[in-house]
C-alpha cells in the first residue's frame, strides 16, 4: 500500500492565451505522503491545484486521483478530498457555524452540531462559532478554511499556501496540524508553498516547479543531501585561520573570506570537525551559521531555470 498512487498527474498543460501557466507537468503523490509543491510566485502552483480540483480545465494531460480519472469521476473523487485554494473566502454575511453547515450539506456529509463544533474546536474557533465571518481576521479565516477541509474527514488534503498571512504562532499551529494529520490520522497531504522552510519541516517528498514545469521531484532528504551546506564562520582572525586550514582538506571547501567572516561550502558532517579544528588551533569562533540547504537549492534551481 505504501506506493499506492493517490495523485497521478501526467503531461498536464494549461495555456492562458499566450502564457503557458503549466507546461507538461507530471508528478506522483503516494498514500501517506506529505508532498511539498514548491515554486516561486507565478510558477504555476495554484493553476495546477485548481486543475486538480476541477476549478480549471486543462488544455492537455490527465489527472488521476485515487486511481480514477478526475474528468470522468469528479464527484466521487471530490467526496474524498478537502482543499484550501489560495486565500480562504467564505460567505461573510453568515456565521462560521452556518458556513460549515452549508458546505457540509452541499457535500452531503455529516453536519451534526457535534461534528461542526468538533472541527471548530480543532482549529480553535469554537468560541466564535456564531460570529459572522466578515468580522474574522485573515488568520481566523485560514483556520476556518482548515475546519471546512476537515469537516468531511477527507483522505486527501490539498493546501495551497496555507500559512500565507499568518503570524509565527499561527504558522507553527498549522505545521503541527499538518504533522498531526499525517502521523496520527494517516492522511495524504499535498502542500503548496513558496516558503521553503515550512515544506522542509513537514514534507517527506516534493516537487519544485518553475514557469509551469517540474524541475525536480523526489524525497526531501535525498534532495537535501545532493547539496552542501553554506556555513558561515565568524572568527577573530580570518587570515590566521586561512593559514591554519592551508594544510587541510577544509581549505578546499572555503569559498569566501572577508572581515573575519569565512564562508564554507561543505557537507553537514564536516561542520563540527572544522569548528573543533579551529578552536584547537587557537582561533576564536564566535558564530557558526549554516544556511538552509533547501533554500539554497531552491534558489539555485529556480535561477537556473529562469
Amino acid at each position: 500500500m505504501a506506493d499506492e498512487k493517490v495523485i497521478e498527474i501526467t503531461e498536464l498543460t494549461k495555456d492562458f492565451k499566450d502564457v503557458k501557466a503549466v507546461n507538461s507537468l507530471s508528478l506522483n503523490v503516494y498514500r501517506g505522503d506529505v508532498f511539498g509543491f514548491l515554486g516561486p510566485n507565478g510558477a504555476g502552483k495554484s493553476t495546477t491545484i485548481r486543475m486538480m480540483l476541477s476549478l480549471i480545465n486543462p488544455n492537455h494531460g490527465e489527472i488521476k486521483i485515487f486511481g480514477k480519472s478526475l474528468k470522468k469521476e469528479r464527484t466521487s473523487i471530490l467526496k474524498r478530498v478537502g482543499a484550501i485554494v489560495e486565500k480562504p473566502d467564505f460567505y461573510g454575511y453568515l456565521s462560521a457555524y452556518k458556513n460549515l453547515e452549508i458546505l457540509g450539506r452541499i457535500s452531503g456529509t455529516d453536519v451534526s452540531n457535534r461534528r461542526i463544533m468538533e472541527v471548530l474546536e480543532l482549529v480553535g474557533l469554537e468560541k466564535r462559532y456564531g460570529s459572522k465571518v466578515k468580522t474574522f481576521s485573515h488568520g481566523m479565516k485560514q483556520r476556518l478554511g482548515l475546519a471546512q477541509v476537515l469537516l468531511h474527514d477527507p483522505d486527501l488534503i490539498i493546501l495551497d499556501e496555507p500559512t500565507t498571512g499568518l503570524d509565527p504562532q499561527g504558522m507553527k499551529e498549522i505545521r503541527e496540524l499538518i504533522i498531526h494529520l499525517s502521523r496520527d490520522k494517516k492522511k495524504t497531504l499535498f502542500l503548496s508553498s513558496h516558503i521553503l522552510y515550512e515544506v522542509e519541516l513537514v514534507a517527506n517528498r516534493m516537487t519544485i516547479i518553475n514557469k509551469g514545469k517540474a524541475i525536480v521531484e523526489g524525497e526531501v532528504d535525498a534532495l537535501l543531501n545532493m547539496n552542501k551546506l553554506k556555513v558561515t564562520f565568524e572568527v577573530n582572525d580570518s587570515e590566521q585561520a586561512r593559514q591554519i586550514l592551508g594544510g587541510t582538506d577544509y581549505i578546499k571547501d572555503l569559498e569566501t573570506v572577508a572581515n573575519n567572516i569565512m564562508i564554507f561550502s561543505m557537507s553537514s558532517d564536516k561542520v563540527a570537525g572544522l569548528n573543533k579544528y579551529l578552536i584547537e588551533n587557537k582561533i576564536e569562533v564566535s558564530a557558526v551559521i549554516p544556511t538552509r540547504s533547501l533554500e539554497e537549492y531552491f534558489l539555485n534551481i529556480t535561477e537556473k531555470a529562469s
Binding site: R50, L53, S54, L55, I56, N57, R74, T75, S76, I77, L78, K79, V81, A83, V85, E86, K87, D89, F90, Y91, G92, Y93, L94, I102, L103, R105, I106, S107, G108, Q148
Partner: protein, 279 residues
Amino acid sequence: MITLIRIELYKIFKKWRTYIGFMVIAVIVPVINFAMLAEGEKSLDFMTRNLQQSFVFVGNLLNGYLISYFILTSLAVHIPFLIALVAGDLLAGEATAGTYRLLITRPVARIKIVTSKFIAGLIYSNLLVLWLAVMSLGIGILIFGVGELIVIKSSGIIIFAKNDIIWRFIFAYGFAGLSMTVVTALAFFFSSLVENAIGPIVSTMAVIIVFLILSALPIDFFRNIEPYLFTTYMSSWRNLFEDPVDYQAFIKAIAVLSLHIIILFTITAWIFKRKDILT
C-alpha cells in the same frame, strides 16, 4: 437538488439587497394608492373626458382593480431592475466573494449548482411579483373597494363586470412572473460571464431599455425586428384585458418567453460548465 435550492434561497434571503425589491414595492404601492385617493377622481375624469360627452358613468370606477391595473402597467417596466439586482449577483457574487472556489470544489456536478441557483433566482423573482400582486390588489381594494374595471384603449373602452376581473389579474400576474423569469434568465446569463455583480445588473437593464426604445420607434426596420425582441411580449398580459381575450396571442407570448428562458439558461449552463474559476 432540493437541498441545493434551499441553500441558495437561504443565501439569497440572508443578503439585505434581496429585501430592496420588497421594500420598494411596500413603499411605492401605498404612495400610488394615496396619490390616487387625493387626485384619482380628477385623473379618471381627464382620461374619460372625451367619452363623458356621449356616456354617463355610474358606480365606483375608481376602485382597487383600476389601481392594480394601473400599477401593473407602470411597474412592469421597473421591476426588472429589482430582479436584476439579485439575479445578476447569483453567479458573479460568488466570483466577487471568492466563494466559487468553495462551491465548485464540493462533490456536486456543476450543472446541479447552476440549476439550483437559477431555480432559487426564479423563486425570488416570482415571489417579488406575488408581493406586487398582493400589495397592489390588497391595498387598492382596502382603500377603494371593488367595482367594475374600466380599460381605456385607443380603439375604445372596455368595462369588465366586477365578477369577471379577478381571474384576469391572477393570469396577468402569473404572466408577469413569466416575464420576470426571462429577466432573471438574462441577468443570470450575464452573471455567468463576469466576476462582479454590477456588470450583469447594468447589462440586463441596458438590453431591456434598448429593446423597449427600438420597439417604440416608428421606423419600418425596427417594426420588422420587433417580433424577435422578448420585450415585445412582456406586456402581452394586456391580452387578458381584451374582450374577447386574444388567447392565441397570449399563448404565443407565453411560448416565446418560455423559449427565451430555455435558451438563456442552456447557454448559461454551458458556459458555467466550462468556465475556468480564476477568482
